[in-house]
Symmetry: C2
Subunit: 399 residues, 2 copies
């Protein structure tokens, strides 16, 4: 019998999904499980987008150009240029989800064995994509005490070697919700220029900034055109995670030309998605205003409930729809599993993602948990009722 | 300015699409271009599939399970088990197009630096996927004289080393249209068992078998369960190339379990596609009967017109919708470019794919061209009118 490859063995399992068997078992036992583990919003997809699907009028569900249809890329420039990105359709490569944008950017820009610096905790699947491309992730620790702000630039410089090729930031951040400031981005810009590094800017949560704070992209910074590669997706912006429609944006002509060869190998992004994505650009502002109001309420509810629990600390993040909180526990993996396996409060429990899966430095995040506030406030309150009692009962409680 | 990776340089451009700028220029000059270069059928997608899109009734375009929805995988077993594959939903991983099935299979099963044997000419993008995964392609020459039948097993054995991990067959074949016989597959089975090799079976064109010939899959062979990995797509079956919906099928539990980790990294296949794909399984037999009749007519038209041209030889393939023909020319790349750049017949010309791009042995296929018979017979006849005259006028004609 032939066996799988070394990479097939090494490839990390998803930390967000790895407790799923325990959640399934809990449900089988009749427990209600609140899912705070995964970034699947309950927010409705904009009607303009759903209507575009219902109104398709083609007879042949055909390939599109590998880089995406010109009409979709043109419409996208309308969206991005309103944000001040100042791009043309030629700067955009349409991808099968934000995931493919990450894969193609890594393969196009980073040699095997070369290094990418990523502030941790970070989006866990970066590890998987790096593994697929033989890229080495160099984590740089950010701290819950200052809300996971950008680590000091001196710390980045300590990590830079001849093999350093890129920095990835996710802004606003998954899993911490941290929103990078103009000053922090300016520091990154100087660093990238000084050491000739790519700056991959994962902007999946761009739309989700709270308390009137402004989203700043590296695309807004002068003199960084050759270094910036934006990784984007419609998944969170339009609550359309199942669309698998993203894009890569860069003004670096060498990068976009090479990326197209990777895109040609897989032929085409989805046609229906591009039709829906084109329509989505006309989503009314009121949609985003309502969504923002709802998420602000949820964040406020979750953060205040968490900080009211003895021994828990949760920073108040500026964006995205995640928080990372510190619990008075010995081991987040054991705790999250225990919540599903051995705990219930009136037949209810909560599924969360242990933060360990978002760190690549061993031992980090052992008492931290990521929660996605993708449920309504009533369910969030019920989740926090469960959590409050669970933290009292958990045998591995530390303080 | 940071530069692209070595892989970004090495990655091959698509041989099917590389002449596109010349075709665009020809069109600008007012020429009508018949596209025989690409496998984009003009056949209508089944109504049940298009109606499923129009009738979507979800409000949130959500992620599905990384392996695909249970309902789609269950419905797929209905389709495959009618063919006698005898599989369960657990044997299926739903992918973003057949392309992703190939990528995941390679990464899961083949170590970097290990070798895959592929009869050539072969589907050109295998080269791109191999490059992405650092897998070494070992081509084994098949010959136009016998219609590109499976090379002798002794020839395979000559290529086998300690690094050989898999064989890929595409059946019916793209680009040759050759349909492998039960005897040929039995020989491959013995070889894979003897040397413990995976047999990747790319069955994108399964539905397209002519003259009453039967399609045989390695899935039909006893004792090969641990070796066979089927790579499939709805693209050609339902003329739904733009759906980006495929799957990987294997009864090898180790492979499917590891493949799921790669699938988890990219989160989910498309939701709308899986809804449409579920509906597509109920496409009436009459659809396939009509399509088959149409393609048989096209093949017969194309093959007889080609063989009527002096100095041209084209085998009569048993399946798919491609032919590879031998022309009395010095260089297929030069000829195909000349057809677009310097030739027209009453303002019309033909775009074809030079077969060189489908070989990885240097110098092979220099006088061969691939044509996809995805146009109606009237257009095919006009294309052949052009080609007949072009071959008379081409300065690089050899005989």
């Amino acid at each position: 019998m032939p066996h799988i490859s070394e990479k097939g063995v090494q490839m990390p399992a998803s930390p967000i999904r790895k407790l799923t068997p325990y959640a399934d078992q809990a449900k089988k036992e009749g427990k209600k499980v609140y899912h705070l583990n995964i970034g699947q919003p309950d927010i409705a997809t904009p009607e303009v987008m759903l209507n575009a699907i219902k109104n398709i009028d083609f007879n042949v569900w055909a390939y599109t150009a590998s880089e995406g249809t010109l009409s979709y890329r043109t419409k996208l420039t309308e969206y991005y240029n309103k944000l001040g990105y100042n791009i043309t359709p030629e700067d955009i490569l349409v991808t099968l989800g934000g995931s493919e944008a990450i894969t193609i950017a890594m393969q196009t820009c980073v040699n095997e064995g070369d290094e990418i610096i990523i502030p941790e905790p970070f989006y866990a699947n970066y590890n998987g994509f790096a593994c697929m491309s033989n890229v080495v992730v160099k984590p740089i620790l950010s701290y819950i005490e200052n809300g996971f702000a950008l680590p000091a630039i001196e710390e980045f410089e300590k990590l830079i070697t001849a093999k350093t090729k890129a920095i990835i930031i996710c802004n606003p951040n998954n899993p911490t919700g941290y929103l990078y400031s103009k000053e922090e981005l300016d520091e990154l810009k100087q660093l990238c220029l000084k050491y000739d590094l790519f700056l991959f800017s994962d902007e999946a949560y761009r739309e989700f900034c709270y308390d009137g704070r402004e989203f700043i992209s590296p695309m807004h910074l002068d003199g960084l055109d050759e270094n910036v590669v934006v990784l984007d997706t419609v998944s969170k912006r339009y609550s359309a995670c199942g669309a698998r429609l993203g894009c890569m944006i860069t003004k670096n002509k060498e990068v976009i030309k090479s990326a197209l060869k990777f895109a040609q190998a897989r032929l085409s992004p989805g046609l229906v998605e591009q039709i829906a994505g084109t329509a989505a650009v006309d989503t009314p502002d009121s949609y985003f205003e309502e969504v923002n109001k709802e998420y602000t309420l949820r964040r406020d509810t979750l953060v205040s409930r968490l900080n009211a629990i003895e021994g828990v600390f949760c920073p108040n993040p500026g964006g995205a729809f995640y928080v990372v909180a510190k619990f008075p526990i010995d081991d987040a993996d054991a705790f999250c599993q225990w919540m599903l396996e051995s705990f219930d409060h009136n037949g209810e429990t909560v599924m969360m993602a242990p933060a360990t899966g978002f760190y690549s430095s061993p031992g980090s995040g052992k008492n931290e948990v990521r929660m996605a506030y993708v449920l309504n406030t009533e369910d969030l309150n019920k989740s926090m009722d469960c959590l409050t009692i669970a933290l009292q009962q958990y045998p591995g409680r530390t303080v």
